[in-house]
């Protein structure tokens, strides 16, 4: 029945003298790709573990004798194998799992993910890539769009992929790709994410209460793992969509694998086919991204991987009297070494460099200008995972980052270097570094109670501050199907992002200098995890988050010399509840999520000091997704969201304003409470059909997507048009119905 190979070897380790242990890796049988989050259980006992991001697991204190080891992972056929456990030794396994696409019987379609009572992971969402890929916009599968379909994860608009998680802004999310920090993970100025689904193996989102191993952000963690590549044979994929085309290739190399994938848009080519008015031409726009990874097993205990990530967006616009160019991009690379010191001690060291830059230059009627900025980090992170005992696991490590922030602004009118006026040519080149150490343990106090405690200490060189982030999480298993969880933690943030809410156009990352205090969030979370029906998970999370020293951009300030010139600093709080019913297995999969959220901010310099709710605050948030796999050829998907409208600012009267010498003047409206009113609700239905067939005997898929099925054009923003004789409330609306067809060929 099970045709995959199981590699078993012995290793000298030091489990309890009268008991044994197992450790090893879980892999896909075809590609030999390691599986993240697979469950390994010792049948008939309460012993078990999850595989970590490297696909590694370790279970100690197993009774001697023949033991049945049960391995399961979403999308794979559950597997049982008998392993002889001997006292004082550890058995090393390398288990290969078969994907479950060939059967429609629910019991075999997906392996059941047995609940490991040691898993504390509060507010953590792991959506199988198969489901993530079914949520598309314009035919483009998009991780961020999929995550926006989770309760408590909001967007600023339908055309923004920024993640507003539990009232936190996108810059408060730590976005990691194979351990590299990604600073601007979007294309098309925020319309779609920069992550190519084809290159991604695993996506983990922690919406709050994340453990001490993560730091530097106040809100959430998005941890993305790239595919290692197929270790068995060369395979490729080509996809053609409305916005972009993509291709990827992977295969074995030595004792490992390689992967390379990329996307490129051809919007500029499509626009070139349209008739163009020379007085009002179309802008030229294109983007591309490349993901690459090389993995080698140096020995049974050593694995290295080199990852690379490159994105670039370019915009050029030229019309009589005006010319400008915009360039935005990320470049990141990492070298990761996984090493097994002993069956109970696993380590990962990651050396990475990541750079995000954007530039804008132009000429308006003879006035030349240029703005460039970048953030570059060079990081080293070492992390040790020690499976000290069956009921005790430690994780500890060090993380150090050297930052370089640059900002160049030339508003002198001359960008050819002929100016010598320093007041209009602003150059910033700041180097800074941060050092963090962390330690956390997971302790199963009893069969029903687990505790995770951690501490992270951060030293920021520039501001000479040493700050501590304590973290605490608790799990209490009430009954077999119900667990109560709680978490508390303090989260400091050092970096600040100067950005407009709707576009990631001139995003500028800045350090915390001595003119502003570091940002800080206090998380309080209580969660209930249940399995109300067979095959369904139902979770309820209630959270409260106190935000200290958050920032809003000072858009009125054109000359900034220090961080306090760039931002207003204030405080906020956010609280709410999330309900999440999910079916991960079977012919029909999907989820229903509802979130009730409240977000408030208070800045002395904004709204005359009165507390207000940010624009992205939405009171109610309902998300429904479903994927029905009819047979091997046909798959049907749907996603629906219904949200309270975003906030807008009303007006109480109109007034004029003029400069001396003007005969007339301009008309403005006097605003009422900032963001004090709410737009009509947003709702949208998207449908998709996938047809699996062959082309030249190669697997071929046709995707038909209908975005915004009933063409409900959501309001992007509302403003008063004061160029009309009477100020007119004007709504700028978003996309109507958009049917697309796209193709994918595997070889």
């Amino acid at each position: 029945m099970l045709t995959t190979a199981v590699g078993i070897s012995l290793a000298a380790v030091e489990p309890s003298p009268d008991k044994g242990a197992i450790n090893g890796f879980i892999e896909d049988t075809t590609s030999k790709e390691t599986l993240v989050g697979a469950t390994v259980m010792v049948k008939g006992t309460k012993l078990g573990a999850y595989t970590n991001k490297s696909g590694y697991f370790s279970i100690a204190n197993i009774p001697t004798g023949d033991q049945i080891i049960v391995i399961s992972s979403i999308g794979y056929i559950r597997k049982e194998l008998t392993v002889r456990i001997e006292a004082g030794t550890s058995v090393k396994l390398r288990v290969q799992m078969v994907q479950s696409k060939t059967t429609t019987k629910e019991v075999l379609v997906s392996a059941e993910r047995a609940e490991d009572k040691r898993q504390i992971s509060i507010s953590q969402v792991n959506i199988p890539m198969e489901q993530l890929s079914q949520i598309r916009i314009g035919g483009e599968a998009d991780i961020f769009r999929a995550l926006q379909m989770l309760p408590g994860v909001l967007s600023s608009s339908q055309i923004s992929s920024g993640l507003y998680i539990r009232g936190g802004s996108p810059d408060q999310n730590l976005v990691l790709l194979d351990g590299m920090t990604v600073y601007n993970p979007t294309h098309l100025f925020g319309f779609i994410s920069a992550f190519n689904n084809d290159a991604v193996k695993d996506v983990d989102l922690i919406k709050g209460g994340f453990p001490a191993e993560y730091g530097g952000r106040m809100s959430a963690v998005l941890n993305i793992t790239q595919k290692d590549g197929n270790r068995d044979h060369v395979e490729g994929l080509v996809g053609i969509g409305l916005i972009s085309s993509r291709a990827s290739l992977q295969g074995p190399l030595g004792n490992g694998s390689w992967f390379i994938g990329g996307r490129a848009t051809y919007l500029d080519l499509l626009l070139g086919l349209l008739p163009e008015d020379p007085e009002s031409p179309f802008p030229n726009f294109n983007f591309y991204d490349v993901n690459a990874k090389l993995t080698q097993n140096l020995s049974d205990d050593d694995k290295i991987s080199i990852s690379g990530f490159l994105t670039r967006d370019k915009l050029n616009f030229e019309q009589p009297g005006l010319l400008f160019n915009v360039g935005i991009g990320n470049r990141a690379t990492s070298l990761r070494w996984s090493h097994i010191y002993a069956s109970d001690l696993f380590s990962v060291a990651t050396l990475s460099a990541s750079r995000y830059d954007n530039g804008f230059d132009g000429n308006q009627a003879g006035f030349e200008f240029a703005i460039d900025n970048s953030i570059t980090d060079y990081s080293l992170k070492t992390e040790f995972e020690w499976f000290a005992a069956e009921d005790l696991t430690f994780k500890f490590g060090y993380e150090g980052t050297i930052y370089n922030f640059t900002y160049e602004q030339n508003t002198s009118g001359r960008t050819d270097g002929s100016t010598n006026n320093q007041s209009s040519v602003f150059l910033l080149d700041v180097w800074d570094n941060i050092h963090s150490v962390f330690a956390q343990n997971t302790w199963n106090i009893t069969d029903a109670v687990s505790l995770q405690s951690g501490l992270r200490a951060n030293y920021w060189s520039k501001s000479e501050q040493l700050l501590f982030d304590p973290r605490l999480a608790l799990r209490f298993q009430l009954t077999d199907g119900i667990a109560l969880k709680a978490a508390w933690g303090i989260y400091h943030q050092y970096l600040r992002l100067a950005s407009a809410p709707d576009f990631t156009f001139f995003d500028t990352w800045l350090p915390t200098d001595n003119t502003v205090p570091p940002g800080r969030a206090d998380h309080y979370i209580v969660a209930l995890e249940t399995q109300p029906f067979e095959g369904f998970d139902f979770n309820v999370d209630v959270y409260y988050k106190k935000l200290h020293n958050i920032n809003e951009l000072r858009q009125n300030n054109t000359q900034a010399r220090k961080v306090s010139d760039v931002f207003y600093i204030g405080n906020g709080e956010t609280y709410g509840a999330e309900f999440f019913l999910q079916k991960k297995m079977g012919q029909f999969t999907g989820w229903i999520g509802y979130a009730l959220g409240f977000v408030y901010s208070q800045f002395d310099s904004i709204n005359q000091g009165v507390t207000f709710r940010p624009k992205f605050d939405r009171r109610h948030d309902l998300k429904i997704t479903g994927l029905f796999r009819l047979n091997e050829r046909w798959e049907f998907g749907a996603s629906f969201m219904f949200q309270s409208g975003q906030s807008y600012t009303g007006a109480t009267s109109s007034l004029g304003g003029r400069m001396p010498g003007w005969d007339g003047g301009i008309v403005m409206v006097n605003p009422s409470q900032r963001w004090g009113l709410r737009l009509p609700s947003s709702h949208q239905l998207n449908l998709n059909v996938n047809y699996n067939t062959t082309l030249f005997d190669l697997p071929f898929r046709i995707f038909l997507d209908v975005f915004n099925v009933y063409s409900r054009r959501d309001i992007w923003f509302r403003f008063y048009d004061t160029t009309e004789a009477i100020p007119t409330v004007t709504d700028v609306r978003l996309l109507p119905i958009l049917p697309t067809i796209s193709f994918e060929l595997k070889f």
């Binding site: 000429n363 009627a365 209009s424 904004i606 007006a651 003029r658 400069m659 001396p660 004789a725």
Partner: protein
Amino acid sequence: MNTLRTITLSILTIASLALLGCEDPVPTDYTEEVVLEGFVIVGEPLNNIRVFRSLPITDTFKIENASVKDAVFTVKADGTELPIEFVDDSLGGTYRAVDTAYRALPGVTYTVEMRARGKVITGSTKTPPLFTWVRPPADTFQYPGINNELVRDPSLDIFWTAVPGVTQYIISMEAVDTLGYGVYLTPPTDDTNRRVRTEDRFDDGTLISSERTRYGFALQPSTPVVWSIFKWFGKQEIQILAPDKAFSDWFRMVGFGRRSQYDYRLSSVKGGLGTWGSASTIKWSSFLKKDKP
């Protein structure tokens, strides 16, 4: 489990219903505000003062309908009071110093207290010091044509002395004769003046901006000539203003970027809306020649 099922379905049902009815209609309630708009320009009479009230957003804003003509002023220059009077005109009128021979001085603190319609609005500004041209504008500019505007001629750059404390200079370009053009040429012609380009218009065809002055800004005491700043061909008065923060902020609000919403952070008065700012200035007369007759 049945209980949980019931709870789950109940929550989802209630949540679905709660999603409806969250929208706020566009408000039309009117709250009157009093606006003081006053500029003290060094070397010029004290006459750039307006007081008006805001109007309902359901009405067209016309300054002559909004003007407040009975405000009571107390204006002081370094503590010495300057009596103020109201002078009516077709645009709602302005307030000015009774002593029409008075010229604003540099480095002097001008304070205002204005009482009108139950409001007391106060403000204070210290006039910036004097400054001079280093290289004034050319007497004549030849407009290169809209398709050649990107070509910069360094010989047309202008320079002036830096003013301590000023971080942003305002450049104004005023067309001083929107009718005559050829009369200033040698030899004179009967060619009439015209706009450089079509301006935005209201739906009824009237110009949104009928004014003759265009403003720009420079963060340093020099700038290239920016062709798009010219509204009209012909005779121009080019003026550099070295503003205080209040004047500069008001410029950000109304002079640059054309905001549709009043921003309290750019106001410099207390007790109401508006500004009370100052600037020192230098001027030069130039002539912009058409690219074609």
